[in-house]
Symmetry: D2
Subunit: 134 residues, 4 copies
């Protein structure tokens, strides 16, 4: 496994992301993980959109989240995202979500992705992505 | 304008569809409208999935919803859906949402759709769909 | 009707907001409208979160959207939001969504809100909000 | 650990649950897990809604999903849900999602829940729920 850079992105909780318990509905953390890995690639000089235009996809094959302190409506959250190259056709992102106001860890998680072509067939990660890992 | 059949479908409110006000988040009604028009076509003998496979799309160009009585978690809702053919390239669906428990109207709304091909170019509604309107 | 200020907010389309047509799923525009009116109030010196803490709610009683040019994954969108005071217990927000890249109008819409207390009973809009309209 | 019953529920994939890859967006599987555990409790004679009315909550503290075969728009999916009592204040649900058409496993996963009162303080699972585990 080769570890890549860690980047940070900040987002704010939307009203529609809460549920009647008064906290964020748990599935929405996975949506934020997606925002975070999109911004990870952008921060490193490419975009997922361009990567798709070059014929590569990174469908999720595994997702995990541990929920610690509740995130609530209008909270600002910082997500620290680290990429890890598991193999030429597998990449993992790990995420740490912090509440900006008090620094508490709201959640931690990871996603594992298979590199494929547009038809879903296995395909090596683009060289431009693999070069980000040392 | 030619009016088509009215069909009924029932769904149950999911926890994740509520927000911290304790009622259903307003955007989710549009998702239910989508379920309702999918079931409208199925009840009439075709499916939207097959229609897409034949190269037609019905992107939404206008949506409206009036919210009356709140829908809440675990409520059963009946949606009454009517299709209306506005022109060979325009169709409108109107929706009435009722709470099954008490018959109250939770919401009313409509969507207008443009018929297109897979690339988004205008295209007449399939004959099989137009035949549903008298 | 008294017209209030117009504010602007920018957001970026998330992958999960698209659907298999390759464009943004139509219900998500209403979620963006919610982000836009949250930012409208913040730009004017209060927050919706604090307003709720003071016992006021603004549930949506009507929503409308006209879809013009498609919004796509990773697009930056600017939302121009204007508040209008319809009565001491009714407020309307109108929205214009522009694609930042080319200035095209992606959508236009509005929402109407009833002012209520935490239990959903009618209640005048807080003076602090009414003061924003001239 | 005490194992409880396994129940089955069927749902159909909504258009808005897909993304531009043409398959279901990964966060939506967690929403289906929620539907499945709601139906688990209903099948066993109580409802989560009533349980909340009695002052108990089951917030998610951990979620996991492994994605196997893609789920697509309009697919019917069967979810097999098993409850496991980890302790008087912890319950786990495991899920297996099958495509009804071909029996393929679309995904497997689990969620872990903490039993709390309405204010989020730890609280034993209601006796009526614990009695479901042998």
């Amino acid at each position: 496994m080769k570890t890549g850079p860690t980047t940070r992105t900040v987002l704010r909780v939307r009203y529609g992301e809460t549920d009647q318990m008064g906290i964020v509905y748990y599935a929405n953390y996975l949506t934020w993980f997606e925002v975070a890995r999109t911004e990870w690639l952008r921060a490193l000089g490419w975009t997922y959109k361009e990567m798709e235009a070059h014929g590569s996809r990174l469908p999720v094959i595994e997702a995990f989240c541990r929920y610690r302190q509740s995130a609530r409506y209008d909270d600002e959250l910082e997500i620290r995202t680290t990429g890890e190259l598991l193999s030429p056709v597998r990449v993992r992102f790990t995420y740490e979500l912090l509440r900006v106001a008090d620094g508490a860890t709201a959640a931690e998680g990871h996603t594992v992705h298979a590199a494929t072509d547009a038809a879903g067939r296995p395909r090596k990660l683009p060289e431009r992505v693999r070069a980000l890992f040392s």
